[in-house]
Amino acid sequence: MSKLTMVEAINLALSEEMERDENVCMLGEDIGVNGGVFRATKDLQKKYGEERVMDTPLAECGIVGTAIGMAVYGVRPVVEIQFSGFTMQAFDQIEQNMARLRNRTRGKYNIPIVLRTPFGGGIRAVEHHSESREAYWAHTPGLKVVIPSGPRNARALLAAAIREDDPIIFYEPKAVYRAFREDVPDKPEIMEIGKAEVVRTGKDITLISYGAMMRPCKEAVNDLADDHGIDVELIDLLTISPMDTETLAASVQKTGRCIIVHEGQRTCGVAAEIIARLNEVVFEFLEAPIKRITGFDIPFPYFQVEEHFLPESEEIILAIKDTIDWQ
């Protein structure tokens, strides 16, 4: 056991997977000598050489596009996009080839790519550096979308992602990178992709979130238990797509009430999808409208006011109380 930050845990998983399988390689901007701008790939080039940890030219479409070819050829590239906002530069390759080449060839070619990229706000960065656009990827057939929330699940999910034969968008909540340390077992650990985790069982209401928003959610849950005797069931989605509808539905079937929290913009976002599914499968158990606390439908604001854009625990507490009182 060692106490690691998320960025250290990611570094560990990368190193372990490169050690385990010589076909695992990495591509990205400044990931070599520099170890990545967040140091997630620190020392990996030193350990595994320039051929396996490749600094690339400054072209995200180029990175993803060539990684696709490498994957077709049997290599297993882990791609780092420096900030998730710059995945837009590679949108065409992601949507047209990475997500579809397997389908296009009816399974002749696998595309085992993990596209790692830091997302979300909270670090006082400039424009385009705080995006949460996981809904784009969830809406794109052929991708799996994974979002860890802490050091331990980051390491275990990343390892699982690297071993998968299908393309994965691995969104790393950068606000969590160095936010806290957590015990991480010495031995490599794997967590199944596609499963949500019930972080705390409760009977009054279901609270669903993921990534950095798990922090205010946990705060809210604790406050509500301590101060108001409200017993919240908290679910960490972990995989955005394919979504673990079963776990969500089972919870809401029990509690009858639900709140969803995410940073990403609202319209056609992940919360909309969760609401649609719950409406489909547990409609008769719903006792109040499902509420979503999400990013607003505006660009992520500049950092002087970004704190106001991000959902906080007070608002979650109010929403939960409102929903419980709803009739």
Binding site: A59, G65, G74, R100, G107, P242
Partner: protein
């Protein structure tokens, strides 16, 4: 061949140039960009430049010739089928047979090929049956996967989007220390896509064993090359990214064979990518959905008829004594027959299986998607579509 020499010259001159992050003084002498060699071995009249004439075996030459004739026969058959409503929209390769067939003549089974949609002749040479290609263009899912043992990407529909993956395959070869190569073709239109520039850059930076064939056939649907680029010498794109670059007469099969042979040799020797601009002409429609009469005049087309790559090669092979009027006729007949047989075999194939569209997106179909599949199967059932 000339363009290797040129490459040497260029390297020398670029070594003189100050490397900005190397602490050396600023050079003020002009930087010589060198030349782009232009290669033609058989001229329009089928006359050979004896100084450049390669010594391919008669069998090889005949095999290549037959491939060109077959490509044209296939094209014609497809066009008939399309006009009869029994084929989807497709892009004829007529007039470009030398370029298309010639480019793959130096590839082995271990090499990879990433074609554009206008590459019938090349795909057949690579081992795609005509029946399979018909299936593909008729909109059947099972037409898309390349045949077993054929290392190709399926043809690219999104212009330029297949070039980066091709470079990635080359990078994979380097990664796995294989001495094979990848050949990718794309059009003058595609040369405008930023992703194609990025592909050239990555290939050069990583010395990936890639051969780029830029098929400059004068048109991108209705857009002539001169509106596509202010520098009509598209080979300059290769130069800009630091790789040996050449312009080739794409209607001259010998030039195409020689240029790609040299490029594949370079690639296998670890010398990195090569850029080949092939000058050719799209004789027919852009696709069967297009009407070129709207935007180009017949005279231009007529002039290019006189540069026909097949006729030119016939003249050469006849002069060489390998072909005569009789064997040409036989060859044409046998190719037409083969295309007709392919058509019949294609018509005899089973209808599309509508149920499998969920099955290949992921290695294992996720539970949620499985539910959608069941919903879909229910729909098929309600419609009375047999499974």
């Amino acid at each position: 061949m000339a363009f290797q020499e040129h490459e040497k010259k260029k390297t020398t001159s670029s070594e003189e140039v100050v490397s900005p992050n190397t602490p050396s003084a600023m050079h003020t002498s002009p930087i010589d960009l060198g030349h782009i060699e232009v290669l033609q071995i058989l001229n329009e009249h089928g006359e050979v430049d004896s100084g450049l004439e390669p010594d391919f075996s008669d069998e090889k030459l005949l095999e290549v010739y037959r491939s060109m004739v077959l490509a044209r026969a296939f094209d014609k058959r497809m066009m008939t089928m399309q006009r009869q409503g029994r084929m989807g929209t497709f892009a004829p390769n007529i007039g470009q047979e030398a370029c298309i067939v010639g480019q793959v003549t130096s590839l082995t089974k271990d090499d990879w090929f990433s074609p554009s949609y206008r590459s019938f002749g090349a795909q057949i040479m690579r081992g795609w049956s005509m029946k399979h290609l018909m299936r593909l263009w008729a909109g059947f899912h099972d037409g898309f996967p390349p045949p077993k043992d054929v290392n190709d990407l399926p043809f690219s529909i999104v212009i330029g989007s297949h070039v980066l993956p091709a470079v990635g395959i080359g990078m994979g070869m380097n990664y796995k220390k294989k001495r094979d190569c990848v050949l990718v073709n794309y059009g003058d239109g595609a040369s405008s896509q930023g992703a194609v520039s990025e592909a050239l850059n990555f290939a050069a930076v990583y010395k990936a064993p890639v051969i780029f064939i830029c098929e400059n056939n004068g048109w991108a649907i209705s857009t002539p090359t001169k509106k596509q680029s202010a520098n009509e010498v598209l080979a300059t794109h290769g130069v800009a990214h630091g790789m040996p670059s050449i312009r080739v007469d794409g209607n001259d099969i010998l030039a195409m064979m020689c240029a790609t042979k040299e490029a594949t040799n370079r690639a296998r020797n670890g010398e990195g990518p090569t850029f080949i601009e092939a000058i050719t002409y799209r004789m027919s429609l852009h696709t069967t959905a297009d009407d070129p009469k709207v935007y180009r005049n017949d005279e231009e087309v007529k002039v290019w008829e006189s540069r026909c790559p097949i006729k030119r090669f016939e003249t050469y092979l006849t002069n060489k004594g390998i072909l005569d009027a009789d064997s040409i006729e036989k060859m044409v007949t046998s190719c037409n027959d083969e295309a007709i047989q392919a058509r019949d075999a294609f018509y005899a194939m089973p209808p599309a299986d509508p149920t499998e569209i969920f099955d290949h997106l992921f290695n294992t179909i996720p539970e949620e998607l499985q539910k959608q599949k069941e919903e879909y199967l229910k729909r098929l059932h309600q419609k009375g579509v047999d499974e």
